[in-house]
Amino acid sequence: MDSLIRFKGTASYLTNEALEASVDCALALQKPLLVRGEPGTGKTLLAEAVAEALGLELLTWHVKSTTRAQEGLYTYDTVQRLYDSRFGDGDVRDIKRYIRLGPLGRAFASEKRVVLLIDEVDKADIEFPNDLLHELDKMRFRVVETNEEIVAKQRPVVIITSNAEKELPDAFLRRCVFHFIDFPEKDLMTRIVEVHHPKLDEALVTQAMDVFYRIRNMQRLRKRPSTSELVDWIHMLKTLGVKDVKLDKSLPFLGTLLKKEQDLVAYADQLAGGQRWRS
């Protein structure tokens, strides 16, 4: 390796030392980077930022509860082939025509190095990560139907996000570089807001941040507002020209911060009773 690539974030994605170290490790050691953290702390955006910083193309694989590992590699479109054989369209003998590469397959097959984001890996079945172990390790797989081997020409940068809904298997975890995205502290948060909304009235930002952190620290919230909610909220305040905010019943656009009915009730409760604990 000639020189190490160092990730320093991008103009719109701010990082800290710990995150940079994790990304650098993943890049240098060519291991997948597993990112965990509260929803809304920018896990998915990290992949975009890495792709942008390195000037690479980003492939995204959104994992759902029904996703199977095989789909990421390739699918064999048997139904299409069946149709074609019945109606005489196309050349049915050429199985290759019915092999569709999934995101992982395309990342391997790509001529250039790409960034592959496997988003919300924990949404899928418990066994899902295990099924990908070998492919992520060796960066190759075999298409059984055509007996063709697809080998990564350039090892893709793999970034995996997880909301910690499910435990991931140990064998999978051991192969990854792990990073836990903390909730940003106040000064980093101020810089993040500044990046997204430059030239905003400083007094408003200070007030909004104050309100935001006080709501975040309230008891009994099921979903605490996070970075993305704050950025959205400030965007609303800016767009509609709100000049000042304070923590009270008529807080504007509360719905962008608290999204669960119970949380709104808890909020109203605690406003009425001050910060006193009521059960």
């Binding site: 048997t78 069946l82 435990e167």
Partner: protein, 396 residues
């Protein structure tokens, strides 16, 4: 070398192995840590830790291993050593005071003293005469009056690794502490088994399409047995008396198990202190169920989860007729009943809200001889679920 650090991590319960060691060695060889302790902290953390639950343990291990190294490594080398060398070369430049110091403290002594102070000191300290800090008269610190000090403190701006580790901001993520409902449900979900059992009566549509299409149109029907959840659980909870402080925790365990939809059957029973002949369907002990009946009704594949502190008077557990209530069957001592249940059901676990440090030298110790015991924390719960899904383990 960082190998002792790996063993320290293992002591703190962070599962690291050869794979992590090799990865770290490779990263260090590539110079990812920028030859600094801060860089090492972040690099090691990225490679050693795979779960935010271990971050706090990592911080602790890091502190235990490296507290003091930072000062010794950077500051002693750059400033003190230079200064001392300088001083030796040009003793005539020194004031009488300084010369006295050089004579009174040799380098080794100063280093040792410094490390000791580093270890003792927990927080930032200003204007003192002993601790490492700023603006004081202690020989260790910054901007002090004592011009013979060791300067400490990292580069401007960012916090140093030891400070970051010292802040222990990941303490809330530790998995061996408190339990909230959702975490508990997630842990219980581990005890899940699906079985395809019975006759092949379900049409496997995907399989059929697959086979048919692979046959280029010749229809081939594929069938399979239907999928069923296959876990039956008996939960027995100790209530009253010494369990009162844990009422809140117990009610959370109870509602989490009730919410678990992935079990085929869940039976809950209550007992007080120990089981003697029968358990009760309600917390008020008014709907008794004889253990003998239960053993007949529930075959050995049921999973038994006992929850209780297992603390009682020794005679309640060990002596015939030790039961507190006269109605109880007293022919067997309590431990006999426990043993009978443990032997009947293939897998069983005992969850104890008492911290493991109190598990020796009382009745808990005796109960542990019978049941595999786990602390009632997230980690303990998870382990117990793993233990239960593994099946019978030989009794100790």
């Amino acid at each position: 070398m960082f190998v002792p650090f790996l063993y320290r991590l293992r002591q703190h319960g962070v599962p690291v192995g050869t794979q992590e060691a090799l990865a770290l060695a490779q990263a260090l060889a590539l110079g990812l840590h920028d030859s600094s302790l801060d860089g090492f902290y972040y690099t090691a953390r990225a490679l050693m830790i795979h779960d935010e639950g271990h971050l706090d343990a990592f911080d602790q291990a890091f502190l235990a291993e490296f507290r003091g190294i930072e000062g010794k490594h950077i500051q002693l080398k750059q400033e003190l050593l230079d200064w001392l060398k300088d001083a030796k070369l040009r003793p005539e430049d020194l004031s009488a005071e300084e010369r006295a110091l050089v004579e009174s403290l040799d380098l080794e002594e100063l280093k040792k003293l410094f490390e000791e102070r580093m270890n003792e000191q927990k927080e930032r300290h200003d204007r003192g005469n002993k601790w490492i800090g700023t603006a004081g008269t202690s020989p260790f610190g910054r901007q002090g009056e004592a011009n013979e000090g060791i300067r400490t403190g990292g580069a401007g701006g960012n916090r140093s690794a030891v400070q970051v580790a010292d802040a222990r901001q990941y303490r809330p993520y530790r998995s061996d502490l408190a339990l909230d409902m959702r975490q508990m449900e997630m842990a219980l979900r581990r005890l899940r088994m699906w079985h395809r059992e019975g006759a092949e009566e379900e049409l496997d549509l995907d399989g059929t399409i697959d086979k048919t299409a692979s046959n280029a149109g010749e229809l081939e029907v594929v069938t399979r047995p239907p999928i069923r959840p296959n876990t039956r659980v008996i939960l027995m909870m100790d209530v009253g008396g010494s369990m009162d402080p844990y009422v809140d925790l117990m009610s959370r365990v109870f509602s989490a198990t009730k919410k678990a939809t992935h079990w085929k059957e869940l039976r809950t029973y209550y007992f007080h202190n120990c089981v003697y002949g029968k358990v009760y369907k309600t917390e008020r002990f008014d709907d008794p169920v004889w253990i003998q009946d239960l053993l007949h009704e529930c075959n050995s594949t049921y999973k038994l989860i006992m929850v209780g502190d297992a603390l009682m008077a020794p005679y309640e557990l060990m002596r015939q007729g030790g039961a507190l209530s006269l109605n109880d069957n007293n022919a067997l001592p309590g431990i006999g009943w426990l043993l009978m249940m443990q032997q009947h059901w293939k897998s069983s676990a005992w969850l104890n809200p008492e911290p493991p440090t109190y598990w020796d030298g009382n009745t808990i110790q005796a109960v542990r001889q019978v049941f595999e015991m786990f602390p009632l924390t997230l980690e303990g719960l998870t382990q117990s679920m793993q233990h239960l899904s593994r099946g019978k383990s030989p009794r100790k």
